[in-house]
Symmetry: D2
Subunit: 381 residues, 4 copies
């Protein structure tokens, strides 16, 4: 099978996420990095390219527009581009590559405003291009297992959803008076109108959506701005899903002593399923009145759609890199299927629709909080 | 030391909670059960009395009023009464014993309405009597350890509080179409205007209050009535504590696959403390940027006020009975100190003020939900 | 039902274990403490009696022989005696009460030598008396659940057994140069020829035996004597059960940082079962190639023989006291059944046969270690 | 920095371990795969090469001898070869590459006999070549953190070591009557004189050695051959380390319901450290009489030598691939330092000395078991 060729915009500043994307994209031997505009500093740009085995240094570009232009003209041009820059630049970059007919994978949130997001979607549709979005937590193999179980009725009708994402980097930074690369996330010009809500709240929204398939209808959000900061650092949100299903969501960047404590619990009338990022390969499945079960992601008893996302024998821990690998695995499989006229099977990855759902969620939460913590419909603009 | 003498109203129907009270009250050899009106059926009444070593069967009463009257006239009458009947009867019974000059320990919630609760408080004050309330979870030794640590500044200033209490008995009952002793909790006439909120939501309110010492100012509550039931079975509440400290609370009786999963997390700017009912003798203490620590309740390094509530060497699990024992231990120590002119040291137990705080919490949540999930002040009547 | 009457020898020195026995014996309303020889100091003796509601102080004895004599002559004399003194005194006391026709519950190890143990057994048989032994860990409800599952074939044929009991009190004492009540356990005259092996190794032997029903045939033991002490503080033992089933056992009193970390894992060819003292109400059941299950002790899905040993609704933690309660519950039920000509149902408790098995285990381990860590048959004298 | 060039022998049969080596070697951008003899089937050989981005297909070899010869003659020949074939072929392949002056990384066990191992060591020394061995579990970042803590005296003097590695693939295979790629491990001709001992027992030996730095002096081993198989499937071993430090080791391939449950506990007189493969980034550190701490591998408070082995911010799980990455990271850093005349800092990886220690351990265990479970010195041939 012929591998896909891809390029990357961003990732050259020592930011860890660029490397995570690269490893994710190449993990399962479906794509190869052949071009990039990793940073504006050409020296660092080339260093990154060499470190990442980009052989032809003429495909290292100082500017993303130049890259889109040049790559779109080559017969062996890139099949897709990965965008891993700060959020405020996503829109321009994604638009540019789509306009040049190049498929896009973009870090979340896909852009700053819903209006921009909808333009990107329209553009991708017009051009017939694939637009993937890297919602990591939603892409662990165990989450797919959960979805298969929920679809198969193993917890019955869903009656409640509780999701949380506590981390503490903001407290750590505040106390240490640090000024690291994360600081752009606190600058309203670069991060958009929200910080915690956009940055990690959306991960929970996507996680719920991909795990349950349910549509979010309304939110009631309360934002906390730590020490009077212009942006939110803790969000507590009541959720209303289709069919009057209640839910509750908490995301925080001031939860001292926590790392990346994503956890989701979905309760049905016949059972419940819990997933925790601290043990990402496990589900806790509690059938009503029966012993609680630990479902491990790469065991024979799993759904085939889950097993497709496992790489190692049971008992060998896979982690964060592999979650990224799952997104790219599906994304690439879809591009290859399109190219070769084959099928990508049961593989699914977050697309621009998930990206838009995230923007709508942020927008609704923001409005709910601004208006005094009232119920706000998510689909209303 | 002369033991206290106590009586009990309720507890004779095979309900587990009466026995828990009895064991709690006698656990540390501070009190002895000498009288009771355990149930209206005199045969069962006497059986219970015999099983529980009430030696003088003339002190087994068919009616609580008769009991209050008779005991208040005896020179060796009871020092206090434990009330373990369904909620709707608490007010009459407590009032009667207080009027007869007898101290009271009452299961929570202490009565159905705030107005009744305030009358009871006034009466107890007028009579100079002690009114204890059995908030169990708030009374584990580890919770006292947490409070001592918080008071000592070990987590700095509190910035967030997350509490939850999932259980699933209602789903179990609904599915099984059971009709057990718990059913009164779903009857508005007997349980009051709320079910889940009164029954277990108040446990969380008390747990937060006793663990942190903070005063709750406002709530925004959303109730879920499962399958259109008149009463609530799931409550999701945004909290506002004094000093603008946010919090979030979830209590549910339809959280399939959970038992009694009380969990509280208090975040400060220097650390956080977590307690889970599944491991009741442990605290998880996470100092900022330092390794997370597991604080076990009966280790030498604990606060003296915590160690006073431990009975076994480290590593020997204590449980639910002992949490009740802690309440009665303190309550009895206070009565004895009063009697003997001594001091009860650092011991503290929930009093009628905690009971009233619980009623105010329920009342405010109820109004918030009724009015469309808006912020409601807790102290306003 | 008429309660049993019992007395106690020992328990008056503030030693925690006496109180644990008392609470265990009275927990389920089957017995009442009416007599005792708690300590040699008559003042403390009476204080203990009062604290423990022994009403007739003429039944507080300065000497156990006097007690045995007096009680055996009363028409309302004790039905059984609980012996909770240091090991070296067990034999004389147990013998005395048996000779006076009084049933016995004895702390483990039942005596210092196998010869003594066999005399006690013979005596009990001749007199037709019940001799119970308090192996606590083996008596948790979850262990009975495990046994029922194993008997029902849920793990298939047993192929391996791994058991451990790490604690650290000796390191703590050594470092702190303490001299507390536990010190007699290090004195060969009082504790017998072994320390760790007798004190906690036997708990593991009994735990395996009661959980699996298997007979131990051979041991190969290595003892570690910390800092050249005359007695052992760590034992590592290879086990050989009937049918050539291998096993491994580790008990230590110098395992720094551990409390009472009893853990047992039984592997069969169709599944495995694990129990840990840190979560005493749970079993981890792993059926071959299926999700691991957490079996909680007081859930409806349990075996009736397990449920009989649970007192609280699911989710309410029971602990160490309740494990003692289970032993006495069964012991008393057997005495009552004998008295009343009824049946004790499925209830079982450790008897003198279990006590003898413990002595044989210690003896064989001691010889194996003395002879250079060789295989030694357990049944050979 | 100029990357190293490496080749691989084996890895082309769909065996997962080849891919793990490739990902490990390239993870931190220190080496690039440029040649290989992945399998004897040239078509599959080339397919693997393409999938793994080997650009020059003339460097895909049908035979390892041809590869060693050709690569040693090229000016841009490989700097090292990774050997990932079954154990019985390691010796010939490693010898061949060493003789051609090419550095070697070899899967463990490095060969079948101690004699062969010593020849390889001698050869590597004569040629001045680096010989790395991939003991994975010993190479997690958390293990290095543990070693740094132990070296710094944080648990005091070591007094006991308990290690285990239960897995169940053999039971699974036996029950399912499978015949997969793992079957060579059960063939004495291909796996050597032992199965479980060589395959996973040696992982524990290496783990203890790297975590503590202690030298193993004697073993007493008992092997279990499941269902009369010629090879061992469960080993239970008493250990004697230098300074009379006792230890105990259990490895099993018939521990039904377990995956890859490596766990090690090291007890000192001032504290203990525990590591479990199920949570590979964590250590449990229990200082004497102080709260137990959870040390997470990529937190600021860690030793620099540990942090060097972490790639993601705290809270993002790394796993099995990254443990391999750590081995290759250090191995490559040493080759580069040698090439460039720089230093590899604190980085350490398992070398042929660790490989030899493994062979000695297996040899001694085998003899101990053959001779009836007696103590056998490890260094004696």
């Amino acid at each position: 099978m012929e591998k896909l060729r891809f390029g990357m915009v961003g990732g050259g500043n020592g930011a860890f996420i660029g490397n995570v994307h690269r490893r994710g994209a190449t993990m399962d031997n479906l794509a190869r990095l052949v071009a990039g505009c990793f940073t504006r500093n050409m020296e660092k740009n080339r260093e990154t390219a060499k470190a990442w085995d980009v052989d032809d240094l003429s495909r290292v570009y100082a500017d993303f527009r130049e890259m889109a232009d040049a790559e779109s003209k080559r017969p062996d041009g890139i099949d897709f581009v990965s965008i891993v820059t700060p959020t405020d630049t996503h829109y321009e970059i994604a638009k540019c590559f789509l306009e040049h007919g190049i498929n896009v994978v973009c870090d979340k949130p896909i852009c700053l405003t819903l209006a921009e997001g909808e333009q990107l979607k329209q553009l991708a549709q017009q051009k017939g291009l694939e637009f993937g979005v890297t919602y990591t937590y939603a892409s662990y193999a165990a989450i797919r297992q959960a979805r298969e179980m929920i679809d198969a009725g193993e917890i019955g009708e869903i009656i409640n959803i509780i999701a949380e994402y506590p981390q503490d980097w903001l407290i750590v930074s505040t106390v240490a008076q640090k000024s690291d690369q994360s600081v752009w996330r606190l600058d309203p010009k670069r991060a958009g109108s929200t910080a915690c809500c956009s940055d990690i709240g959306t991960h929970l929204e996507a996680l719920i959506s991909r795990m349950t398939g349910l549509h979010l209808e309304q939110v009631l959000a309360r934002f906390t701005h730590y020490k009077g900061s212009p942006l939110d650092h803790d969000i507590q949100v009541l959720l209303q899903y289709e069919g009057n299903i209640p839910g509750m969501l908490w995301a925080s960047q001031i939860a001292t002593g926590t790392d990346c404590g994503v956890k989701i619990r979905v309760y049905g009338d016949k059972g419940s399923i819990e997933w925790r990022h601290t043990q990402p390969m496990e589900l806790i499945y509690a059938p009503l009145n029966r012993p609680v079960r630990t479902i491990t992601a790469n065991r024979e008893y799993n759904a085939p759609a889950c097993l497709e996302l496992c790489r190692l024998p049971a008992g060998h821990p896979e982690g964060f890199y592999e979650a990224f690998g799952n997104i790219y695995h599906s994304y690439c499989a879809h591009l290859i299927a399109k190219r070769d006229g084959t099928s990508a099977g049961t593989l699914r990855h977050p697309t621009i629709d998930d990206g838009l759902a995230g923007l709508r969620f942020v927008d609704a939460c923001f409005r709910s909080n601004e208006q005094g913590n009232i119920w706000v419909p998510v689909d209303e603009k």
